[in-house]
Amino acid sequence: MGRIPDRTTRPTARLILAAVGLLWLATVAGCTSDDPSAVGSSLGDLGFDLVLQPLNADQDAGFAALSIEDPDIPVNRQEVLYLGEQGGTSSSILVNFDFTDIFSEDFPESLFTDQNIKSVRLSLTKLKFYGTAVVDSSDTTGNVTSGVTNIYYSVRMLDAPFDTTAFPGPVPPDQGVELVKGPVDVVYGNEPLIPLYKEDFLAWLAEGGTRGFIISAAAGSDPGLVGFASRELDSYNELADVAVGTVVAPNFVVDFDSEDVNFLMPPVADTSTFDAIGPVPENPDDRFVLRTGLRSYPVLRFDFSGLPAHAFINRAVLAVTNDTTASFGNFHSLVISELPVDLYTTPADTLTLAELGDAAYVVTGQTSLDPTFNRDIRFDVTQAVQRMVNQVYEGERALVMTAGEDFAPLYDQGSLDPEFYFSQFDFLGFAAPDSLRPHLEITYSLSDSLVTGGNGGGQ
């Protein structure tokens, strides 16, 4: 088998041929192939047995209306004071003022005389949202046809300074004497100054001590809850422009003849009473409610019995209908999260915000929803339904609808938490006509081979 060493083929020819070969291999390495097309599609038998089947899940399988409390921010520490009545919720504003030792070098006791005081007024600072009248878009005249514009303020002295921890709660008893310098009349603007009798103020000064007052909306006021700045307010962006030095909380403004600068007297405590809180239905047949301010979040569960096991969810949309004629309040994010149903024991249970945040798994949400405008609201909950169908959790899960809480940062826009604005979304319930009731529009696909096998194997 010995061979004579071959010297007859030039090395350059071999190199050239090898280079051509490698170039060919590189050229046909797949990157120049045509894109896949229908060529060959008559072969290949792997397929789904059912593709894109619709299922409308609109039967209630367990509703809950959870009250959510934030122990860190009780009502008396909220940044907003609410006045008025809307949706069954009514509130007055309580303020405590301490008349003891209010004098200073700038405003000595000698200034506070009947002759020197020009006027005494109670100042409030309305949130910008409530100070802006709402124009009905259907009214082509552009006239202001809705919105809280007219309030007849009433101020009375409480029998005693109020207890800051007693609210929400009933309105404490007052002395029944109207303190507003008559006649009680509408006060316009974002910074209403309610005229009071200076004699009353001088008497309170003379007696000293702490006094409680109730500010309420008198008969004839436009209906609606209106928010005012409290002494806790930090979110100054929610106010219209105010003058430097303005005390935004309820405060007495004393105008002197002898001074160019007014004396401002802030309260030592303030709170909303929320003496009546609108009902939150536990039975969702007629309607269900999502409320901010005093949070109430609905929990929805649907009957999935019509959905085949092991289906792939191509799309699942939670559709709810907001009754824009009953809902009220500011724009909000609405967030859908998964919630273990064993987190609450009754359909009207109360949870802390931390408990809710720890247990909720955010699915999706929408931002800037107007309770008075956005009627048909739909959420893509595909992943959540897929997880429920897959039974990836121990125990059952429901869908909870919340506002833009901290645990849903994607939908928690701005710096305001949902307790800031008292708003309410009233949704039509399960007894509403088909397209209006809350329902899940589920689109699924199914592979019978996966469920029952027998896809050409040897079994």
């Binding site: 088998m1 061979r3 060493p5 071959d6 010297r7 007859t8 083929t9 090395p11 020819a13 071999r14 041929l17 070969g21 060919w24 291999l25 050229t27 046909v28 390495a29 797949g30 990157c31 192939s33 045509d34 894109d35 896949p36 097309s37 229908a38 060529v39 060959g40 599609s41 008559s42 072969l43 290949g44 038998d45 792997l46 397929g47 789904f48 593709v51 894109l52 089947q53 619709p54 092991h310 289906a311 792939f312 969810i313 191509n314 799309r315 893509d380 897959n390 039974q391 529009e441 689109t443 696909s445 592979s447 081979s449 996966l450 469920v451 096998g453 896809n455 050409g456 194997g457 040897g458």
Partner: protein, 404 residues
Amino acid sequence: MKRSVAILLLLATSLAVPAGAQTPLALENIGQRLDNEDARMIGRGGWGMAVDDSTHPGFKNLASLYAVRKVALNFSAYGDHAVSRDDHGERTTERVFTPDFRVALPVIKGRLAVTAGYVVDRSTQFDTSVDSTWQVWDDEVKGQVQFLRDGSTFRVPLGAAFSPWRGVSLSAALNLQRGTLRESRYDVLRDPASLIGFPLYQTNLLIQEDAYTGTSATFGALLAPVRAVRWGLAYTPAYDLDVDRKLEVGGVALRRNEAFTLSMPAEIRAGMVVALRGRWRLGGDYQYQDFKDFSGNEAWAADMETEHTLSLGLERRRAYERHGGMNNLPLRLGVRMRTWAYRVGGAPVDETTFSAGTGFPFHGDLGQLDVAFSYSQVGDLEKNGMRSHVLRFSISVTGLERWW
């Protein structure tokens, strides 16, 4: 030589990436049998059962390896350019494949050798995409149904060749059979989409993945009763392939796992070489495997056929004439006719290949670079509903090294 081995390994590493697609006729059943011979054999039609050459060993019949006197490494690769047509139109595809990597070590030089390697026997690789619409709710959902089939069965032959007497060589090999087959179906639901283009309906994905394991044995013989004629024979008894199947739908928790066994029929290979005048010789191989005896997958078994391959070719061997130039190069011509193991469109699939090739020895006769061009016609539009024309460039490198 060390440099050539390094180049060979580099080639093996860099090109061992299958890409692109082959004929759509491989979209179902057990897949297309590959031409996994080296480029020298492919150039002459594929025959190589009855060769022995200590400086250019062939691995098609392991019995021929008795002759090696040095450690032999062999690597083969090819690039395909395929144009496939059916009722839906025409598609051009390309791919690179590395079906064969072998090593043979002499134990008793010229009499006993052991061998190992990696050989891809069958492959299936093609994808399709069909524009589709679905109606659900009030939406007309538009997208594509995409199907991808990709996989191969390969073996690791561990064998030995021994020549007890002059003119007789025997071989035996244990083949570790392995492989995968992955079929994927996507229902890509593109429209309707969100304002940022994100589809509203999620894509369906169904994946079926088979993993094959098994062992087989191959026995071979090489006979040279007279100087001008050699006979080669190899027999692989029927064997079983255990299949672990996993079926899953993207996004669904349930997985279906099944296990079953494929019974592969016995295979016979035979070949003959006749020395003609001068440097010419005529050879032929025949391969037979009756897949009507196949069982284990009812859907496949219903379409099974007898697979047989006839390879015929001429080879003008190398010469060593000083100043002979190109005339010294080997020249190979051949034709191969194969009937596939399964029917497509109710009819057997015929594959006919015409090929030509040559080779270039390395310095000191320590190996050779072989190349081959071939043209194949696979299937028939009338009979099978589709056909492919495949232009292929094959390259193989054989390196010899004295390790002891």
